[in-house]
């Protein structure tokens, strides 16, 4: 009997994921299964044994209700977002044509893709389920209850993975057929991380902790969590810890709900599979550029109105029309908002300043780091033109300042205005200082990106270089603060960041001429 098509596609998907460790591929799954068995039988119980009293005390406390909900919710969200974000980062629709020309139905493609990655996510599920069953063992939970807990984990997380896989496939088919679509995909790939970061920050410093401390008072959070199946699963586990021998009607109803959620999401996924695996959409319509408005004319004037002004406008247009670039700026602004909402204590401007320094440096890196990302050929256009490389650097500097400095100044001004007693002098002084520092970060970032060019945004090179900029900014700011105190930190930061920035820019200019 021939292998079902979904199994063939699943096997292929598994092979692709395992291609980097091909030499252990035949032994990988047996090895993992053996290791997981050791973990479940020996390791997890041993870990739990070491802390058994504390663990039991915790499970019988009110905080467990919220914590288990949050834990399952976090894993649920991760299982949902990960395939989507992975698909968005590098949307490829090329293979779709070969697959669609074969006698395979969209449902088989979808199921195969899901089955192919399931073992890897399954490892995470087993690790989590293993520790829970080990923890609940000493409470006296029976085999049926244990079976239900494992089923809860599998059904809940694989529902999330399934939904994520379906959405990823839908986005890929819609966005993968045009350059514009791929740009939207990359932009979404960045922005989609914000809610997850928000949840993380909230867990670190926001209402989730309140929910842990006093579950009764955090109605909104438990309400939001309550609508997701992860919470139904959490309630089942909590119920078992309170009454290990009993399977109540509530538990059965919740388990039924999880089963129903899984079945409905599978059914819905198969229903939309036709739309997820198709070349019918024909991509997105091509965009057209309008005539230059006030903004571009002003930028042209700022650039002197001549050839340099036109160059500046062209660079700004190319930057601004890529949603990926705008999403990076939006991501930084979003991070600032989230940090201020959840992590910074009210009335602590220094905390806000330290965190903002890192984000301002990241913003500068994201804005000017684009200089080499279109590859060497794009740089050679400037090399070919008379004095082209110097003009490129000047234009990139001005463009970087135009975007980075106003955003940083507005953010810091808003932060300062939220402090009740801030004076006008302090407001102007701080915002002025931030304007100078952020413009230095632009110089520094451009220098770094020309010295160590990232010729593509794939492979993490771009982000790694951006992180160098961030670490430099943090190191400089915290170093000045610790060594010289509050009074000298800012002047040192201003002068050193500019000095290093200029030095690196010269180094970058030299390296730019050597790129071949």
């Amino acid at each position: 009997m021939p292998m079902p098509k979904w199994a063939i596609i699943g096997r292929n998907q598994y092979r692709l994921v395992m291609s980097s460790v091909r030499f252990i591929r035949p032994y990988f799954m047996p090895l993992i299964i053996a290791l997981l068995a050791i973990y479940i039988v020996y390791l997890a119980p041993a870990i739990v044994d070491a802390f058994v009293d504390d663990v039991l005390a915790f499970f019988l406390s009110q905080a467990a209700v919220a914590l288990i909900q949050i834990l399952l919710f976090a894993v649920f969200i991760w299982f949902f977002f990960f395939p989507v974000s992975l698909a968005l980062k590098d949307i490829q629709a090329g293979q779709l044509e070969s697959l669609l020309s074969a006698p395979v139905s969209p449902s088989q493609l979808l199921l195969g893709e899901f089955i192919g990655v399931m073992p890897f996510y399954g490892i995470a599920v087993v690790l989590l389920a293993g520790i829970f069953t080990a923890i609940l063992g000493p409470i006296g939970i029976g085999i049926v209850q244990n079976f239900i807990i494992i089923a809860v984990f599998l059904l809940t997380f694989f529902s999330a993975l399934w939904i994520g896989t379906v959405i990823a496939a839908l986005l890929r088919s819609k966005l993968g057929q045009s350059e514009k679509g791929r740009d939207i995909g990359k932009a979404l790939g960045f922005i989609i991380a914000l809610p997850v970061v928000g949840i993380m920050y909230a867990m670190m410093g926001g209402g989730f902790l309140e929910a842990l401390q006093n579950p009764g008072t955090s109605g909104a959070i438990t309400g939001i969590l309550g609508i997701l199946p992860s919470s139904w699963g959490a309630r089942i586990i909590i119920d078992f810890t309170s009454n290990p021998d009993v399977i109540s009607m509530d538990t059965l109803a919740r388990f039924g709900g999880i089963l129903l959620f899984f079945a409905s999401s599978m059914w819905l996924g198969f229903k939309v599979a036709e739309r997820a695996y198709t070349l019918e959409t024909g991509g997105l319509s091509a965009s057209t550029a309008g005539r230059d408005g006030v903004l571009y004319n002003t930028i042209r004037s700022l650039g002197g109105g001549g050839a340099f002004g036109t160059l500046l406008v062209s660079i700004t247009k190319d930057y601004g029309r890529r949603l990926q670039n705008l999403s990076r700026v939006a991501y930084i602004v979003g991070l600032v908002v989230l940090i201020n909402l959840f992590l910074v204590r009210p009335g602590e401007p220094l905390e806000a300043m330290i965190l903002a320094q890192a984000l301002f440096a990241m913003l500068a890196a994201f804005v000017v780091g684009e200089v080499t990302i279109r590859g060497k050929e794009a740089l050679f256009i400037y090399r070919k033109a008379p004095d082209g490389e110097n003009r490129l650097i000047k234009a990139r500097l001005v463009q970087g300042w135009m975007i980075t400095v106003p955003i940083c100044v507005i953010i810091i001004a808003v932060q300062l205005l939220l402090i009740p007693d801030v004076s006008i002098v302090e407001l102007l002084g701080f915002t002025g200082a931030i304007a100078v520092v952020s413009s230095a970060y632009v110089v520094f970032s451009l220098g770094i990106f020309l010295t160590i060019p990232a010729f593509s945004d794939k492979g993490g090179e771009f982000v790694a270089i951006a992180m160098i900029v961030v670490f430099f900014a943090m190191f400089l700011f915290l170093g000045s603060l610790i060594l010289l105190g509050k009074e000298w930190a800012l002047p040192i930061l201003l002068s050193v960041s500019w000095a290093v920035g200029i030095l690196l820019l010269f180094l970058g200019r030299w390296n730019l001429g050597r790129i071949e």
């Binding site: 021939p2 292998m3 098509k5 063939i8 596609i9 096997r11 292929n12 092979r15 692709l16 291609s19 980097s20 490829q92 629709a93 090329g94 293979q95 779709l96 044509e97 070969s98 697959l99 669609l100 020309s101 074969a102 006698p103 395979v104 198709t278 070349l279 019918e280 024909g282 319509s285």
Partner: protein
Amino acid sequence: MKVITHTENLSKHYGKGGEIKAVDQVNLDIYEGETFGLLGPNGAGKTTTIRLLNCIIKPTSGSATVNGHSIIDDPDSVKRVTGLLAESPGLYDKLSAYEFLEFMAALYDVPGDIIPERISNLLKLFSLEDRRDHLLEGYSRGMKQKVLIAAALIHDPPMLFLDEPTSTLDPRAALMVKDLIHELAGQAKKTIFISSHILPIVEELCDRIGIINQGRLIALGTVDEIISQTGKANLEEAFIDLTGGIETRELLAWRDQKIADA
């Protein structure tokens, strides 16, 4: 001669109200064993036609049959009798040539016991047997194209669709692909449907050609027939004449103006 592919007012429209006519009322017969070339400028509807005939997309109106199977009512049977080399196919770069062909064979229901031999024969035919276990990411463009053609042949279909088979290849690789197509048509007796905008390829390889422009099939016949229909000296001129090329003089008019002003 037996008609292997027949289209009747085949149309594919996109956009609101179907204002973009990617393929518009195409009527075409392809005969068994012939090599047919569909010529047209970029965006003329060549790839859409191929996708329609391979059941990758559905027609807005009209119908077609391939080897007696309807593309609307019996898509799976159509897929089993056709092989497709797509214009810009995504290869699974992290698979070896053998693994990729094994995957494609399984998708096309090639019986498991004959898959190894089939792959081995194809790899030999394409001189790739020494590199069967190398990952595709390390292959040159020409070698990748060979693997893709092998994949299109893995289920031994009577009809092969090649969408722009040489457009991204260097001259040496393009020559190699041309030779392969010759052999497939001559020795393996395959019916081959090539779409291209490279005139010499089509002129050299095809028994008959069709010219498509803005979704409509505007000429059909042998190369000589099309040249004589238009009264031009060669296929290039006939193609420009049929598809409405812009006169060079018109394009360079600004230079004359500049000289006159000076």
